[in-house]
């Protein structure tokens, strides 16, 4: 329709448009120019009398990124009041509730949102995470699986994997993380987590592969360095492991796990003093870590400082009472401290703990060390029985005699010498060779058979203060 011409010199009155500068707000926000953005939002809100939904929304987002969750939730709630039909607003309110730790309330709001948008993967994902925090794992898994079905996203899979790990279901966790890595093959966090899972399942080749991948994407990833280094250590590549650790120690100099692994690498190279120094620094930084104490005890046994070894081993036992190997090493220390009574008690405790925990493959060394001790204290018949037990365990673990001799040569050697001394050389294991080492007087501390390098995974410890 033809409009009447406006009179010259008078502009038409400008109507206050509520959503006028949304584009500019958005531009500032996505560029990360939060200060300018906030200024603009304030103007816009004053102009529109707090009715501009988008300005409020972005204000909420910015406040959240600055860590002010409570204020951001207020903003989102205002948004939800302005536009109750928007799923987005509901989702943000629920997410703020989640970030504040009010998981039950958050789940309720998410469920409301789910009624409006049943096929939103984010809602399903967040519902799953909320259920996980409320320890309702079955439901959490349902929600997360649904989210992954709607749209596979690696964060969903990571959460699902976490639940499997909490439930100690490593096979499923492995599967889930493998899928996550397929989705995001360049994420070093995911790769290293997968590598650690493989390590826990004893698949070292695959673990190493994934950890190596993680390190190619991020050569300074502390967690991956630690895990890869510990695999190298297990294969005796101490120098390579040490060069890897050098990077990690630069990044996280106060991490007890790093110093523990460095210490054990030195131990592997038979540099005992350096090992003790590193391990003691680790113990200083993290006094609650039983692995460090265990390693310290072990190294002190090697350097024949039995009093210190006893001390560290008891500390480790206090921190983690159900470990047969700890009692065994304690027994070794005590036998060198001339405390026969307690030594026998320690070995008995080791056998008892083994029985209680019901571990699948029993440690042959416990039996061997007990046998050596019994022989040294003159109880030849009991020693013979224990030696038989050792033999049984050795076969259980390694299969045949040749494999056992290849994997734990020192232990087999000591066993042979003891068998020769006891004249029980007729059994399967000892028959492969004639008891040539019969001249050996008394078997030394047999724990030298397996250094049992314990690796600490990259964990988070509370720092302590020392004065």
């Amino acid at each position: 329709a033809p409009k009447p011409a406006a009179p010259q010199g008078r502009k038409p009155p400008e109507l206050p448009q509520v959503e006028r500068s949304n584009w500019l707000i958005h531009m500032h926000y996505v560029r990360g120019e939060f200060d300018a953005c906030m200024r603009l939002i304030k103007e816009q809100l004053v102009d529109s009398g707090n009715l501009c939904e988008y300005a409020l929304y972005v204000q909420g987002l910015i406040l959240r990124q600055r860590g002010r969750i409570q204020e951001s939730m207020d903003a989102f709630q205002q948004c939800a009041l302005l536009n109750p039909s928007s799923v987005n607003n509901l989702k943000q309110v629920a997410r703020s509730l989640f970030l504040l730790g009010r998981h039950r309330a958050a789940a309720g709001v998410f469920q409301d949102a789910a009624k409006q948008a049943p096929d939103d993967w984010e809602i399903a994902h967040n519902l799953g995470v909320c259920c996980m925090h409320m320890r309702d794992f079955a439901q959490a898994k349902d929600h997360l699986r649904r989210a992954a079905g709607l749209r596979p996203h690696e964060s969903t899979l990571v959460q699902l994997g976490k639940i499997h790990i909490i439930e100690n279901d490593l096979q499923h966790a492995l599967e889930v993380f493998r899928r996550a890595v397929e989705l995001a093959p360049e994420n070093p966090d995911l790769l290293s987590t997968l590598g650690l899972l493989y390590m826990q399942c004893n698949q070292y080749q695959k673990a190493f592969e994934h950890l190596g991948n993680a390190l190619t994407y991020d050569p300074e990833h502390t967690k991956a360095i630690l895990a890869a280094g510990s695999i190298m250590q297990a294969h005796g590549d101490y120098d390579v492991a040490l060069t890897k650790y050098r990077v990690a120690a630069g990044n996280a100099p106060e991490s007890a796990a790093v110093w523990n692994n460095v210490g054990m690498a030195f131990f592997g190279k038979r540099k005992f003093v350096a090992a003790i120094t590193c391990l003691k620094r680790a113990a200083y930084l993290s006094p609650f870590e039983w692995k460090v104490q265990y390693n310290l005890g072990l190294v002190h046994l090697y350097t024949e400082q039995y009093a210190s070894a006893f001390h560290f081993l008891t500390a480790a036992i206090q921190l983690r009472p159900k470990m047969p190997a700890l009692y065994m090493l304690l027994g070794v220390a005590l036998s060198n401290l001339d405390d026969a009574e307690n030594c026998r008690l320690a070995y008995d405790e080791a056998l008892k703990v083994e029985k209680e925990t019901g571990s699948r493959s029993l440690d042959p060394l416990v039996a061997l060390n007990y046998a050596v001790y019994l022989y040294n204290s003159g109880d030849a018949s009991a020693s013979g029985r224990m030696l038989g037990e050792f033999e049984r365990r050795l076969q259980e673990r390694h299969g045949n005699a040749a494999a056992a001799a290849a994997e734990a040569p020192d232990a087999v050697e000591t066993g042979k010498r003891l068998a020769a001394l006891l004249n029980v050389g007729e059994s399967l294991l000892w028959r492969t060779e004639a008891p040539a080492a019969a001249a050996a007087a008394a078997a030394g501390p047999a724990d030298s058979a397996a250094p049992a390098v314990h690796r600490a995974p990259a964990g988070r410890d509370q720092p302590k203060r020392f004065a």
């Binding site: 860590g67 990044n251 620094r281 008891t314 509370q462 302590k464 004065a467």
Partner: protein, 501 residues
């Protein structure tokens, strides 16, 4: 025997009390005996004399309201006021060595001038514990001087010895023997800096500005009045006439006050060319380096001190602390044992010995040292002894004993922030979350510049899912220990949470 001779002999043997009595007797007989008057004055001065080069204390007013520093934002490494966090050895420092104020690691030797980095504002200074930044409780302005003055008044019940306002200084100023003793009396006994300055000015004039001693005293008065530039001028002028150790030491202090550590280092080095290997100058150098956060360089200077004076307590203790926190407790033990051989027997020394013994794995000596420390210690010190015992119990794995030890530490000193923090950690291990949280809260309010409670609160909050509190706490932890890798990781994880939609 001649009473004056007797009094002199008593003075030489430092029996000031008796000397004063004797002089009073003489003066009673003959009130115009100038020798006795002089002697009594000197004895009175010596009774309360404190070396004011070593006695340097900042009150609250000096710390906050006085801005004699020129640069407000100095380059790092050129100012004593900016705490250089984690100085030197790759950021590990703060995780290994406890600190007093933010970024200042604990020193091995506490002297009256020990300053942590001062509080930022007056409110903060009033809120923090009174001994947080100084060796003694802080007062509003240089408290020790005020207290010395009042104490001297109390010690003479029948009124003051000399009525200063009635003295005619122009009569005394030209007489060198009289004026010097009188000056010292006014300055150290009466603590009347203004009058002392008046006398010093007159005396300098009477000696035609040729006497370096008077210039030095003028400088000393200016220093006490806070006129540092005037003080520097006088010292320079005195140095031109006579090279003197005291002027170098005073000048070093002036530069410290003006927050010019590099000038102070230059000054000390210059002094060392004139007085090679002097212990006081080397110690001053070491203190400056320590204040700058260069602990390694400070240790080197202290080692130089030890080379020429093997019994220097400050140097021994400082180097020992340095060794202890650098993973060499055996060497620290050696040095602390040397201190013990020198005849020191304080609770601190025994505690340090016990800790060194424990960490150097000399288990036979450890607990006996703690025993000794507990018997010797006073109440405030007992808290620290028990706190350390708690650590030893922790390392042995006896958690209940360590719990009790930390509790005892708290019962002796209610404001022991470290003990609160560690109790919180123990409660966390027992899964008493509420208790743990309140302990951490107490620790962080008592000592806001400690990063541990903040970080621990952050961990707890993160586990509970309260990410807002976690973010706030971990930010605070970062503020006090910027290089802490765990809090960096946590902060990054939280930021990811916040930016996810």
């Amino acid at each position: 025997m001649d009473p004056l001779f007797q009094a002199l002999s008593l003075f030489r043997r430092r029996k000031y009390e008796k000397c004063i009595e004797k002089c009073t007797e003489i003066l009673d007989k003959n009130s115009y005996d100038e020798a006795a008057w002089l002697l009594k004055m000197q004895a009175l001065t010596e009774q309360v004399y404190v070396d004011d080069i070593e006695n340097d204390e900042d009150g609250m007013a000096e710390g906050l309201l006085d801005d004699s520093a020129i640069a407000s934002v100095a380059r790092p490494g050129t100012s004593l006021r900016v705490a250089t966090a984690g100085g030197g050895s790759g950021g590990l420092q703060q995780a290994m060595r406890p600190s007093t104020q933010s970024g200042r690691p604990v020193t091995g030797f506490v002297r009256p001038g020990t300053q942590g980095s001062g509080a930022g504002s007056l409110e903060q200074a009033l809120k923090t514990p009174r001994t947080a930044s100084n060796a003694r409780p802080v007062t509003s302005s240089s408290g020790r001087l005020v207290r010395l003055g009042t104490a001297s008044m109390l010690s003479s019940p029948d009124g003051p010895f000399i009525n200063l306002s009635r003295l005619n200084f122009s009569k005394y100023a030209p007489k060198p023997q009289m004026s010097r003793a009188l000056f010292e009396y006014i300055l150290y006994h009466e603590n009347d800096v203004r009058t002392a300055l008046q006398l010093a000015a007159m005396a300098t004039e009477a000696h035609q500005f040729q006497d370096w001693w008077w210039k030095l005293q003028l400088a000393r008065c200016y220093y006490k009045l806070g006129l540092f530039r005037d003080c520097e001028q006088q010292l320079r002028s005195a140095m031109k006439q006579q090279e003197c150790l005291e002027s170098y030491l005073l000048l070093g202090k002036v530069y410290t006050k003006l927050d010019q550590p590099l000038a102070a280092i230059d000054n000390y080095n210059q002094g060392l060319t004139k007085f090679p290997n002097d212990r006081c100058l080397l110690t001053g150098l070491a203190r400056i380096q320590e204040g700058l956060g260069n602990l390694e360089k400070a240790a080197e200077c202290y080692k130089d001190v030890l080379r020429y004076d093997a019994m220097n307590v400050e140097a021994l203790a400082s180097i020992a602390t340095q060794y202890f926190y650098n993973d060499q407790p055996e060497l620290a033990l050696k040095l602390y044992r040397r201190l013990l051989q020198l005849g020191l027997a304080s609770a601190e020394l025994y505690t340090n010995l016990a800790l060194c013994c424990f960490y150097a794995q000399q288990y036979d000596m450890c607990l006996t040292c703690f025993d000794r420390a507990i018997t010797v210690a006073k109440k405030e010190e007992l808290a620290d002894v028990w706190y350390n015992l708690g650590h030893v119990a922790l390392a042995v794995g006896d958690l209940s004993l360590s719990y009790q030890a930390f509790r005892l530490a708290l019962s002796y000193n209610n404001d022991h922030a470290e003990a609160y923090n560690n109790l919180g950690v123990l409660e966390l291990r027992r899964n008493n979350l509420e208790m743990a949280r309140s302990f951490f809260q107490a620790a962080s309010t008592l000592s806001p510049s400690m990063f541990e409670p903040h970080y621990n609160v952050a961990i707890m909050a993160e586990r509970m899912g309260d990410l807002q509190s976690a973010y706030q706490s971990v930010n605070r932890a970062q503020q006090f220990f910027p290089n802490h890798s765990d809090s960096k990781d946590m902060l990054n994880a939280l930021k990811v949470h916040f930016s996810e939609i």
